[in-house]
């Protein structure tokens, strides 16, 4: 697995593109799969009377072979599209946002942003079809020089923005509590150090007083 999480970190949710965008690609493949039948139908309609035969054997089996070879290529492309769709994802953990962008099979970009660096989360639905199907884009603005995180065509972008904001709030809350407990521990440590030093001073002072008393007694005795 390429993405490793810390021991105290877990995935809150994963976001992928809306299934409708993937369906468009599959529809294109389905159309290409039935395209040979359309071509045959058009040839039959044409006013030419001709037949096709093969020198090496029965042409009917050649048609079957050609069609299934064509289907095999489309099948592979279908999986290619699906893999691209599946791997293009946002993973929101308790500590960070991981953006995995897959471009084809051999190019992948992984960007990570710590949740405390996120400044603004914005959702956007634009167009008739996205409004009907309820999908759109989410923009995450980060502090500093880092690029804007953008995921296109996610389902229910408003809900995802809300969930992301909740994850951010939880992270910030946990961060504040951790900071406070650290401060408290530091204060305790300082206090105990001060107590120790005070005790040392007292001990030192007592030792000096004892020594002075002894000296006085010795002088009086002499």
């Amino acid at each position: 697995m390429i993405i490793k999480l810390d021991n105290d970190e877990h995935v809150v949710f994963e976001v992928r593109k809306h299934w409708f965008t993937f369906t468009l690609e599959i529809t294109l493949l389905a159309f290409l799969a039935i395209l040979p039948f359309f071509i045959i139908a058009i040839i039959k309609i044409l006013p030419f009377d001709f037949s096709i035969s093969a020198t090496g054997g029965n042409i009917f089996y050649f048609y079957i072979f050609s069609y299934f070879a064509w289907t095999s290529i489309l099948w592979i492309f279908g999986f290619l599209f699906w893999t691209d769709y599946y791997l293009d994802t946002w993973i929101i953990t308790t500590k960070k946002l991981i953006d995995v962008e897959q471009h084809g099979l051999f190019r992948r970009e992984i960007s990570i942003i710590q949740l405390d660096k996120i400044q603004d989360v914005k959702s956007e639905i634009r167009g008739i079809v996205p409004t009907i199907m309820n999908y759109g884009d989410i923009h995450v603005q980060s502090a500093g020089q880092q690029k804007e995180f953008l995921i296109h065509n996610v389902p229910k972008p408003d809900q995802i923005r809300q969930k992301l904001n909740e994850a951010l709030s939880k992270y910030k809350m946990a961060y504040v509590i951790k900071e406070q407990s650290n401060n408290f521990e530091n204060m305790n440590q300082n206090f105990s150090e001060q107590n120790n030093s005070q005790a040392n001073l007292n001990q030192f002072a007592n030792t000096n007083i004892d020594q002075n008393e002894n000296n006085n007694q010795t002088q009086n005795f002499s």
Binding site: M1, I2, I3, L5, V11, E14, F48, D49, F50, S51, I52, S53, A54, T55, G56, G57, N58, I59, F60, Y61, F62, I64, F65, F68, A69, T71, S72, W75, I76, F79, L80, W82, T83, Y86, L87, T89, I91, V100, Q102, L105, R108
Partner: protein, 81 residues
């Protein structure tokens, strides 16, 4: 007068040999195997929670094998029937 080319289309005889079809089938099988390994690598290496190989791998194999069987039978039919 030039001859009407449509009239020449009475019977088109394609120079297809079964050897070329077997070769095409072999290339397709090699492509299937290579693509299977490439896809498997991707499904295994990326992603954290859901594991797509649970259904993707068998689906890819079953349909691919069916396609290869049909193509093999059609080449055999072309050659022997």
């Amino acid at each position: 007068m030039p001859e009407n080319t449509v009239q020449n289309l009475k019977n088109i005889e394609l120079p297809i040999s079964s050897g070329a079809m077997w070769m095409t089938l072999l290339i397709l099988i090699i492509v299937f195997v290579i693509m299977y390994f490439v896809f498997s690598y991707h499904w295994k290496s990326v992603g954290i929670e859901e594991n797509p190989k649970v259904f993707a791998r068998p689906l890819f194999w079953i349909v691919s094998v069916l396609l290869i069987i049909v193509m093999t039978l059609s080449v055999a039919g072309f050659e022997y029937l």
